[in-house]
C-alpha cells in the first residue's frame, strides 16, 4: 500500500513543529519565534495500520508570494499533490490565521483545520464555537494542545476520514461580479489544458499576474503561459489594475466576518501580563542591561556546570585507553599507536572538553528560545542594524549561530530582502558557534581569570565571555555596514517582526531532549572528524623527512607569518586542519606541542596552561587566539550551507575571504600595537 501524503501548514509560530513532532515522534527543533522552520521536513506517522508521510512546511502568513518561504509553501501545495492538508491555527489569533485558511481552501478543499494552543485561548477567555466554524468552512475543525499531546488522536482520526473520502465542497470566497466573470472565462480555457491545479485559483493568480507562479508553472508542469496565445489574449482583456487588492481585501473581510460569528473575546485585556513583562524587557533603562545579564547568567551556568562532568568524562574515556591498546595488539605497532594515541585520544579529548559546555549551553539557550525572548532581542537591537542598513532579524540568525553557524545561515531565510539576507549570511560566522565556545572559555579562564575555581572566578570568566560576544556583535555590525556601503549597496528595507506571547518553556522536555540531541551530534561529529584528524596529525608528527617531522616542517613554514599575527605556526596550522570542525583545534595544538604527536591526558586546565606557557604563549597570544577563533573562516559545513543558500560560488568565496581578511588584519594590528608599546 502506498504511503498517504499529508501537508502540515499554518502561520509562523503556531506550534506546527510541535504538532509535527507529536505526529511523527521526530525531534524537529521547536522554538517560540517566527520562522523557526525554514525548510520542509518530512516524517512518518503510523495510524490505524496506515502509513502517512507528513510534510511540515515553513510557516507563512499568506500564499500571496513575496518571500522564499511563501513560494516554497505555495509550490508545495500546488505541485506536490498531498492527500490531506492540516491547517494549524493559533486559537488566540483566529482571524489572522483564517486568512491563510481561506487562501488555502482556494487551492485544496481537503483540509482539516487544527486549532492549536487551545488551552491558551481558554485561559484568556477566548471562546470559540468550534462546531459553527466547522459548519461555515465545511471542513472538520479539531482543537489541540500539541505540547501536551492533547487532540492529536482526534486530528489523525479526521485526517484518516478525509484520506478515505475527500471533501467535495468547502467554503469558497466569492469576489466582485467583474472578477467572477473573468475567473469563469479563464477557468473555461484552463480546464481544456488539463492542468492538475484548481482552475479557479489559477485563474485568479494569472489575473493578478503572479510572476513567481508563472515561473513555477513553467518549471514544474512545463506549461509556459506565454506560448499560449489564446490565454495571453484573454488575460490582456480581463486583467484589471487593482484586482489583487480586491482579492486580498475580500479574503480578509471574510476572515473577519467568520471570526465575529464564531469567536468571542470576553477579556479584552488578556495580554496584560505579557505587556508588563515587555515593559521591563524592552524598556529604555532595563532592556539592554537585562539582555546582557541574561547572557551572563547563561554563560556562567555553562562554565561552572561544565567543570565536573568534563573531569568525569575524561577519567572515564582515558581509562578505556589501555584496554583498547591491549585489544589492538594484533596490529603492527605503528598502526596501533596511530589509532590509540592519535585517533582515540583526540576523540576522548574532544568529547570530554567540548561536550559538557555544549550540552549545558544548548538547553539553556533553547529555554530562552521557547520563552519567546529571542524576538525581543531583535526588537531591542534593530536600531543598530538599521544604522548599518541591515535587518533586525539578523539578531535572530546570529542567535541561531551560537548553536551552529550552518543553522544560522539557513535561518537567514527569514530575512526578506535579498541584500540584507546576504549580509546576514556573510557575517554569521563572526558569532562563535558551539564548537568554538569551549576553547574560548578555556583560554579566557587560563589567561585572564586564573584557575582557582571560585564563584568570583567563574563569574569573571562569564563576564569576559559576554565582552567577547559584544565584540563579535560589534564586528558583525561594522562589517555589515561596510558591506552595505560597498559590494552590497542599498538602503534598509522594511522590518516587521511579530513579538509572540511569552510562553512557559517545557523545561524538563527541553533539557532532556537537547542534551540527548547535542550529545549525539557532538559524538557524531567527533567520530567523523576528530578520529581522522587525530590519525593524520599523529602520522604527520611521526613521519620524518631528514631530521624534522612533516608537522614541524609545516609549522616552521607558517611560523614567520604567524608571528606577525602574534600567533605561532602550530596555532595557524591547527585552524587550517580544523576547517572541517573547529572542535579539534585545541587538541591539535597540544599534540603538535608535544612533538611526539601524542596528546596528553586531559586532567585539568592547569596542565593545559603549563603546555601553552611552555610553548611561548603570552597574554598577547591568548588575545590573538580568541580574536582568530572568533574571526577566521567558516567551517566546511557552514561553507557548504552558504553555497546551498546563495547558489553562488562568488558569495561562498567571499564568505570565506572576508572573515579571514578581517581576522588576520585584527590580529596584525593588535600585535603591532602591543609590540610598539613594549618598545616604548
Amino acid at each position: 500500500m502506498e504511503n498517504i501524503k499529508i501537508t502540515l501548514m499554518g502561520n509562523p509560530n503556531v506550534g506546527k513543529s510541535t504538532i509535527f513532532n507529536a505526529l511523527t515522534g521526530l525531534k524537529q527543533h521547536t522554538g517560540n519565534w517566527t520562522g523557526k522552520t525554514v525548510d520542509t521536513a518530512m516524517g512518518i506517522c503510523k495510524y490505524n495500520n496506515k502509513v502517512y508521510e507528513i510534510y511540515d512546511l515553513p510557516g507563512t502568513y499568506s500564499l500571496f508570494v513575496h518571500s522564499e518561504e511563501e513560494r516554497v509553501a505555495r509550490d508545495f501545495l500546488c505541485f506536490n499533490k498531498s492527500k490531506v492538508t492540516i491547517m494549524v491555527c493559533d486559537s488566540t489569533l483566529i482571524e489572522r490565521n483564517l486568512n491563510l485558511v481561506l487562501q488555502t481552501l482556494e487551492i485544496t478543499k481537503n483540509v482539516v483545520v487544527c486549532l492549536n494552543l487551545y488551552d491558551e485561548a481558554l485561559k484568556n477567555d477566548i471562546n470559540i464555537d468550534v462546531e459553527r466554524l466547522s459548519n461555515i468552512l465545511k471542513v472538520p475543525v479539531v482543537v489541540t494542545n500539541a505540547s501536551k499531546g492533547v487532540g492529536i488522536n482526534k486530528l489523525m482520526e479526521e485526517v484518516e476520514k478525509l484520506a478515505v473520502k475527500s471533501i467535495n465542497e468547502s467554503f469558497i470566497t466569492t469576489y466582485d461580479k467583474d472578477i467572477e466573470l473573468s475567473i469563469e472565462k479563464l477557468s473555461k480555457h484552463l480546464e481544456n489544458k488539463k492542468i492538475n491545479i484548481n482552475t479557479r485559483w489559477l485563474s485568479l493568480r494569472l489575473l493578478e499576474d503572479d510572476k513567481t507562479l508563472i515561473k513555477s508553472l513553467n518549471q514544474e508542469l512545463n506549461y509556459d503561459i506565454y506560448e499560449d496565445d489564446e490565454l495571453i489574449r484573454l488575460l490582456d482583456k480581463e486583467r484589471k489594475e487593482d484586482i489583487n487588492e480586491k482579492v486580498v481585501s475580500q479574503i480578509l473581510l471574510n476572515a473577519k466576518n467568520i471570526t465575529e460569528a464564531c469567536v468571542s473575546y470576553n477579556n479584552k485585556n488578556y495580554q496584560e501580563r505579557n505587556r508588563k513583562i515587555d515593559k521591563i524587557l524592552t524598556s529604555k533603562i532595563t532592556g539592554i542591561p537585562i539582555m546582557l545579564i541574561l547572557f551572563l547568567f547563561v554563560f556562567w551556568i555553562t562554565i561552572t556546570g561544565a567543570n565536573y562532568p568534563s573531569e568525569l568524562l575524561s577519567n572515564f574515556l582515558f581509562s578505556l585507553e589501555e584496554p583498547l591498546y591491549n585489544l589492538l595488539s594484533f596490529l603492527p605497532d605503528f598502526i596501533r599507536n596511530t589509532i590509540v594515541y592519535g585517533g582515540y585520544r583526540v576523540l576522548a579529548w574532544v568529547v570530554s572538553v567540548m561536550l559538557p559546555p555544549m550540552a549545558i549551553f544548548f538547553p539553556l539557550f533553547t529555554i530562552l528560545e521557547d520563552s519567546g525572548y529571542l524576538p525581543r532581542i531583535a526588537f531591542n537591537l534593530d536600531r543598530f542594524f538599521k544604522k548599518c542598513s541591515a535587518c533586525g532579524k539578523q539578531a535572530l540568525t546570529m542567535c541561531m549561530g551560537f548553536g551552529c553557524n550552518a543553522v544560522g545561515v539557513t535561518g537567514c531565510r527569514i530575512i526578506d530582502s535579498k541584500r540584507e539576507r546576504l549580509i546576514a549570511i556573510l557575517t554569521n560566522s563572526f558569532v562563535p558557534c558551539n564548537g568554538r565556545f569551549p576553547m574560548i572559555i578555556a583560554i579566557i579562564t587560563i589567561f585572564f581569570v586564573g584557575l582557582n575555581n571560585t564563584f568570583t572566578s567563574s563569574l569573571l570568566s562569564a563576564l569576559l565571555l559576554v565582552l567577547v560576544i559584544c565584540f563579535s556583535v560589534f564586528i558583525t555590525l561594522i562589517i555589515s555596514k561596510i558591506l552595505s556601503k560597498t559590494i552590497l549597496k542599498g538602503m534598509p528595507s522594511s522590518f516587521i517582526l511579530e513579538l509572540p506571547p511569552y510562553r512557559k518553556p517545557q523545561y524538563l522536555k527541553v533539557i532532556v531532549r537537547s542534551i540527548i540531541d547535542r550529545t549525539l551530534y557532538v559524538l557524531g561529529r567527533a567520530v567523523v572528524v576528530a578520529i581522522p584528524a587525530g590519525i593524520i596529525i599523529y602520522i604527520l608528527s611521526n613521519v620524518y623527512i631528514g631530521s624534522l617531522s612533516i608537522l614541524t616542517i609545516c609549522t616552521n613554514f607558517l611560523d614567520p607569518f604567524a608571528d606577525l599575527l602574534g600567533l605561532d605556526g602550530v596555532i595557524l596550522f591547527a585552524f587550517i586542519l580544523g576547517f572541517p570542525a573547529n572542535e579539534i583545534v585545541v587538541p591539535i595544538i597540544i599534540m603538535a606541542y608535544m612533538k611526539s604527536g601524542v596528546l596528553i591526558e586531559y586532567e585539568s586546565l592547569a596542565s593545559l596552561k603549563e603546555i601553552l606557557v611552555n610553548n611561548g604563549w603570552t597574554i598577547l597570544t591568548a588575545i590573538n587566539f580568541i580574536i582568530f577563533a572568533l574571526i577566521h573562516f567558516p567551517c566546511s559545513t557552514t561553507l557548504l550551507t552558504i553555497k546551498k543558500e546563495t547558489k553562488s560560488i562568488k558569495w561562498t568565496i567571499l564568505s570565506f575571504v572576508i572573515p579571514l581578511f578581517v581576522g588576520i588584519s585584527l590580529c596584525f594590528i593588535v600585535t603591532s600595537v602591543y609590540r610598539l608599546i613594549l618598545l616604548i
Binding site: Q271, D278, T282, K284, D382, P492, S494, I496, L497
Partner: protein, 75 residues
C-alpha cells in the same frame, strides 16, 4: 488624521489608508493591518525605534519609516 508613527504610546487609532508601496502593503495586509482596523501603540524599543503595536491580538514591531506609510485616525 496622522501617521501611525505619530500615535502616542498607549493610544489607539483606526487605520485609514496605506501608502501605495506594494511590498510593504502586502506585508501589512498579511498581518491584518488593513483599513478600518484598530491599532494600539504599545511600547518602543530601548533605542527608540522600532515600536510595537497591538494589531488584532498580536504584537507587531514596525520601524518608524514603515509606520509613516500608514494613515490613521486617533480614537
Amino acid at each position: 488624521m496622522c501617521k501611525l508613527n505619530e500615535v502616542p504610546l498607549g493610544a489607539t487609532c483606526l487605520i485609514k489608508s496605506i501608502n501605495n508601496d506594494i511590498g510593504i502593503k502586502r506585508r501589512f495586509y498579511d498581518l491584518g493591518l488593513i483599513p478600518k482596523v484598530e491599532v494600539t501603540s504599545l511600547f518602543k524599543s530601548p533605542l527608540g525605534d522600532p515600536t510595537a503595536y497591538l494589531i488584532k491580538g498580536s504584537i507587531i514591531a514596525i520601524r518608524r519609516e514603515d509606520a509613516k506609510k500608514v494613515e490613521v485616525e486617533l480614537i
